[in-house]
Symmetry: C2
Subunit: 216 residues, 2 copies
């Protein structure tokens, strides 16, 4: 029996191949056959590792999400101890934008899953909602941190008062805007030059929504 590390390596080899196939030709092009050929392994091996088409597709989706998580953790680590809320949110959003070849591929793959979920397919919408919901919660936490810090200390210390009951709404808007921008960046070459300014503007507007947070 192969060692566990070999198993992981094989699975990654296969999901990497699946990601390339999906990015190139859409989710409907990812079959056991096409992905086995892309990975240079047998169809039987793909079936052995993943069982059903659905499990295989979900593992491919999960691999994209996990890579984004790893990149985010690395970026967060580079910010040093106690990064400001705005910097944490920025680090999360940067990993959603297709500003290099790897992230572009991942953005196309995630969009392919979303689109496939809208029509009859092996995946549905609920399968793809875990990552955005996690992101919204994580960003809402940072918004509460940012805004609690901007209120008077005695108010912020009162644990019974949510310093910002609208944090979840703002977080959802931030994720929506970043997702929309990510899709625009895929098709509009002129938008890449504005990506950094758009991201900063989004943070200006929605992390610290009123000028008083920054100027006072």
């Amino acid at each position: 029996m192969p060692r566990l590390a070999d198993h992981d390596q094989r699975r990654t080899q296969i999901t990497d191949a699946a990601r390339r196939v999906v990015a190139r030709a859409g989710l409907e092009a990812a079959t056991f056959q096409s992905v086995a050929a892309e990975a240079g392994v047998s169809v039987r091996l793909v079936q052995y590792y993943f069982g059903t088409k659905r499990k295989f597709l979900l593992a491919t989706h999960q691999a994209v999400v996990a890579d984004a998580g790893t990149r985010f953790t690395r970026r967060l680590g580079a910010l040093g101890a106690e990064p400001a809320p705005r910097e944490v949110v920025r680090a999360l959003l940067v990993e959603l934008l297709p500003t290099d070849a790897a992230r572009r591929q991942d953005t196309v793959v995630l969009n392919a899953f979303h689109t496939a979920a809208l029509t009859a397919s092996d995946v549905d919408g609920e399968d793809t909602l875990g990552a955005p919901r996690y992101l919204i919660t994580a960003i809402a936490d940072q918004l509460r941190r940012a805004r609690a810090g901007a209120t008077a200390p005695d108010r912020a210390a009162d644990q019974d008062v949510d310093p910002d009951p609208d944090a979840e709404l703002d977080a959802e808007l931030i994720v929506a805007a970043a997702s929309g921008l990510a899709q625009t960046l895929l098709v509009d070459e002129t938008a890449s030059a504005r990506a950094d300014r758009l991201l900063d503007r989004l943070l200006d507007r929605l992390v610290a929504p009123s000028a008083s947070y920054r100027l006072e």
Copy 2:
């Protein structure tokens, strides 16, 4: 030779059928054959009206955009004379959100075009950018109107000074957020209940971004 009105009616009959096919099964499912069958006409008739597959797909995309424009014009008319900038932007955004069956179908179809443009297909990204660019320009104009109205009159009257040089950035973020929300609404049933609050919050934050615009 058929009258012009008959021509228009025939074309609409065929693009309506194409929209249903694309919404149900994706852009790759829309062939002369499948759409002719859906419309209850001959393949030759579809070819007669549209010529190439590409022209046929672009006419279908255009039909969706035109319908959104018609709905927006009707909504704008209902706002009465001289609607406030925020109300104009809201009327535009409401037409982007899939809050009924017809708009849901249109949102799925527009997404199908976007996704197809990312892989080899008869359409490319540039084909789908006209409508969002028009929207961004229209919203930026309203933001300038809103913010010029909020500054001192002598400043606003100075035609050489753009009252808000960041209006285009904010407009692009508004369209990105609305597009992202539209896609979320397609897959996340819990989001529909929040759609109105999210939209109002987006307008609070980005049309009148600082509290001073509303409170002073």
